[in-house]
Symmetry: D2
Subunit: 387 residues, 4 copies
């Protein structure tokens, strides 16, 4: 890499009590290729200051608002100011924040789902293209090396033509009305104004992204059964979808936050004409491959028989498990290296541009809104996106 310093970034959101802010910071720190140097961690300037102090940041670069941060950082000399911003606020204001930083010329890493309306999503896409910035969306589950290997196998024809996709993402943490007991996470995630959608937005969109990433297939139509199972809740906490993909593949996608005892059960199976794949997020170092007439194989991360793209996204030898943070870090590292290439004018490495982009963000928002609409109509509807 041609930059003789680490990248610098600032964060919007991630103040006291935030969960995802800490996740982003650890993921960004893991590889030692970027430093957090600025932040507007909360809409409360006092909380922002407090968070900056805990993180041992220079107080001069801890800001009271994201607008202030964008403006003041942009005014700093190159090589001192941040290279990118990391946005980890609730969904509804991703758009405004991203817009502000993009217009000040900064690259962006943004949490998902990208926006709460399709209009915002498309506008953001246009901004990214116009300002030619790097935009990474943290659909972290596609950061796992064996997910990347699965995608490689499908693209390589190793399973034949895809016939069926079964993907689920089930959790149980909202099986009770947790939002009524002071849990901050539960509060904003079950508030339609702040979150846009419930289970479909928070986890269903990960399932959609995972299936699309691995197979490359676009949806043609869907029939969704969308429910609020916990009394008093005004947002979807369980959704089950039948899907038709281009080329004739059939799909089942279900997500749930009321599946008692499930923790973070994202699991996908892709059935082709000659083989099938299975991957499970809670056991991410294994990829199961089944064949028509050979023994089942368990591919394990870190082995020499895996594809180059898997190797590129692996840090430890086989048997030394990697997990959530490492997958998340792959997005930061790959996006960061792509930013470095843009800064230096060099070409990025062959696998450095492999991270979720603003286009995945648009597709995800379209998926969420389509599923909610199908649920309302109780029937099959067009699910194709021709933006």
């Amino acid at each position: 890499m041609g930059l003789n310093r680490k990248l610098r970034y600032g964060m919007v959101g991630g103040g006291p009590g935030s969960f995802i802010g800490g996740v982003h910071r650890k993921a960004a720190a893991l590889d030692g290729e970027m430093d957090l140097v600025a932040g507007a961690f909360s809409s409360s300037p006092e909380k922002s200051r407090q968070q900056g102090e805990e993180l041992k940041l220079d107080p001069a670069r801890v800001y009271g608002s994201y607008e202030e941060m964008a403006e003041k950082e942009a005014a700093l000399p190159e090589g001192e100011r941040i290279d990118f911003v990391s946005i980890v606020t609730p969904n509804f204001n991703h758009y405004a924040i991203a817009k502000t930083f993009i217009e000040h010329g900064f690259h962006v890493v943004c949490d998902k789902p990208m926006t709460t309306t399709l209009e915002d999503a498309e506008a953001l896409r246009d901004l990214v293209k116009k300002h030619d910035v790097v935009f990474a969306l943290t659909h972290n589950y596609t950061g796992y090396p064996l997910v990347k290997h699965a995608r490689h196998m499908v693209a390589n024809g190793d399973i034949g033509t895809v016939r069926k996709i079964v993907v689920e993402y089930s959790q149980g943490w909202l099986a009770t009305p947790l939002e009524d007991s002071g849990n901050k996470q539960a509060e904003w995630r079950t508030n339609p104004k702040l979150a846009g959608a419930g289970a479909l937005g928070d986890i269903g969109s990960h399932a959609e992204n995972l299936a699309q990433y691995i197979t490359g297939l676009e949806m043609e139509s869907m029939c969704a059964d969308v429910s609020s199972m916990v009394p008093g809740r005004n947002i979807d906490d369980d959704a089950n979808l039948l899907i038709h993909y281009e080329g004739g593949a059939r799909g089942i996608l279900h997500c749930s936050q009321i599946s008692v005892g499930q923790e973070n059960n994202l699991r996908i199976r892709v059935y082709g004409t000659t083989a099938s794949l299975e991957w499970h997020q809670e056991d991410p170092n294994e990829l199961i491959v089944r064949y028509l007439d050979r023994p089942l194989e368990v591919l394990k991360r870190g082995n020499a028989y895996l594809s180059d793209v898997a190797v590129h996204n692996t840090r430890l030898p086989s048997g030394h498990p990697e997990a959530f943070f490492e997958a998340f870090a792959n997005i930061y590292r790959n996006a960061g290296r792509t930013m470095v290439a843009k800064i230096t004018g060099e070409d990025p490495g062959p696998f450095d541009t492999d991270f979720p982009t603003v286009d995945d963000g648009v597709r995800g928002v379209h998926f969420i809104l389509t599923a909610l609409e199908s649920g309302r109509q109780q029937g099959w509807i067009d699910a194709s996106y021709n933006g």
Copy 2:
């Protein structure tokens, strides 16, 4: 038990090349409570004779047709003639055979699905009631002790109110056009005239029966996506259903015979308000229970902490695995003991009447036909049965 002899039975079907006939015979033999003494094993008298010889049967009781068998056996003195018939032919003629034997006063064990039309199913139900015979349908998967324990837990309120059911039955053996290569099983099972339905009839009906047995819930409506994925096949080999159950529970049921590498993957999860259950046919000695805020438990067959009904259907101590034959044998043994009770006029034991009946058969046929209809209409339809 008050009968001073073993039960005697005859078999219709199960001749040379049959798979399921041998399964029934072994299941019936396991407990030493009944003897096979007669048979009309094939529509070809020669093949029937040959099968009888291999089974070391008295040639006088190996018949050229089921009609002959019913008539001649009925003419034998009580205590010598068969007590019941076991029907293991392709689906389309279950009805005619069962009818004949019932009208001659014999009890019946019949393979599933029970019939290929709802009219036949209902007519059979009426005959069973009219002639007061024991009728057992071999939905063998509900014969597993931990399935029975799961049913016990739900009925006992151990998981609260059921909110969601996810049941699947996936296989891969028909992922290629096996029916074109001389495989007898594949031939009749993919022939609409002989089988009535494909995946939905052969395995989807097991999934339906399993979910209904454990939860006791009836369906209200469904939306099915029914496909023939293998080119040239004229019967469903993949079906995915969204279901609404009475009381508001949501369901997903999917079955497939084109899921490459899946062997006999029947798996069910039942999510309640306070706990959830998971059981997998390929690992049948375990029942996983998840709770809101306690560690996950793995219940294992053969332990003292299980319910009486599980104990009743268990033959070996924990760690000594039981499997497919033993579950199948539970139907024969329980149904057999119920026949003995009927013969002697005694009451059957407390768990002896726990086997699938003609009513399950009617429900199953209704389910299959409804799913096919929903698939044709591509939308939600009424799935309730008010026969």
Copy 3:
């Protein structure tokens, strides 16, 4: 097969309260190739009679003692008398019973361990050879088809040269002084006079047999650490062994009945120079194969890629699990067919003679006694057998 009738057998032991007697009867019944027609089920004639009645046997063939049974059955005409005896009594009197029946010309199926002294074991071996009878020892775990496939792979060179064997058999049922609370099983199995040895005899000998069956390797020396962990117990309930095998392979064999919560955890791993095997009795339908530089494979019972010997010992298609009874039944079926061949003078089928014999019995007794001796000496001792 050339016999125009089923085989007939009698049982010694297996009266009311017995566990293993019922297991043998079900295993023998499964395939419908043999009938139980006689018995001396208990040293109490009344209990023997009672058991015979429950089994619906002809009262004339339910005997008050095994001596009476041997004598009277031998006096019956061929084709009516039993062909073989099944011995399911506590270990200490296997020898006397087997001797009696062999000397009357009967074939024998005998529970393990074969005897409690090496002298008896060797004498029995000599008797079997002298009278040319079939003698099968129910080391049932080598009856599993995937164990047979593992043996096939080793013999075929599929894993290179064996370097290390790790075999364990752990249970927890004797972690408390169960023998003091009226449990019949626990009583005789912890009584040195009736059982000879404790964990080593009951389960350690299975582990030894399994390792020897799969690898074909004989032991050269061993160092055993033998304990009675439960206060007041006078027999081994935990034993851990280091082993040197011929050719330089190293071994660990451990067995325990005080491993709380373990049910019937017999597990073996065989490491060769190019691949390794793992099999677990509680999940018997899978054989795990690991390679130097290829993905791990899971071989599943019932698939076409398995060896002929595995197929020969399989009754159900893949995914339809087989388990303990079926493996046990393979011994009865194979031994029975070998008896039929002896009776008819025909050659047995290619895999029919694959069952544990009197030589395995001698080896097992030698192993048990050597391990006990090593434990007493607290050091390495010669473990080779040159009988």
Copy 4:
């Protein structure tokens, strides 16, 4: 924490081609509580410089030798110089490096095993005490939260009295003579002069540390079977031990680097009188607990039912897996916080001092040397340490 800046550290070893250096750096970086600011990365000054450049370090603080680094860093003003050194060189020179830095007043994080002789280990212990520095040894596997919970359960009496420990650490990466093909890792790890011991030192010592950490039990005697299985290798690559622990518990410890296909299979089971524990490094987010007469429980990281010490060492909610780096990072973070407390004169937090220390290092070296000696003697020897 009372330090208004991050900790600063330097590294000895970890130059180009090193594996473990990068692991330490990522583990140290994860929590953003310490920065790498100096290094003597190689005995080749040029390689050291090159590594420093890749890490974007100030060239003035990249040194040509560890002696130079110790001296020059010690001369820097407090608040600028490093707080501690991280030693990641081959085993044989841990002692000299640690001694140098301790004598210059620096805290130490050191890779394991600590030294290659007991004399060095004891001398290091004395130095640590004399200079009152923090010394952390990276027995990283005890950094996993569920290992800490297991230790908590044993200490709390949750499994009764420990009766048996079965711990294994098997790998297959040295099943071939990899050291002859230019693999740097394999070269030094199979060189007795650089590594001291082979499998026993590299992984056996982890197994010993894990068992001791969880149970608190010291060894009394052992019998080891130590082998070099690969022709031409002069160091142990397979070792199997029987162990007697204080209080009467029995143990089996086996480690192997020739177990083809095993990746990093560290697994421990601890059997108590009332319950037992099982933990597996390749599936580190689960702890299996078995009871005398209750269902098996699977405890999963991140749940509220776990102990405070588990929570303290957890970064992510349940179902979001943590793995190797996070466990490793727990040592850096806890040791770092203990250093901060020492610097500020405050008390460390309740769980901050929970990391492997110089005493664990001495115990580990004693264990390795005792096992090698027992292997030479082929018999039981005293294994107690009374240093």
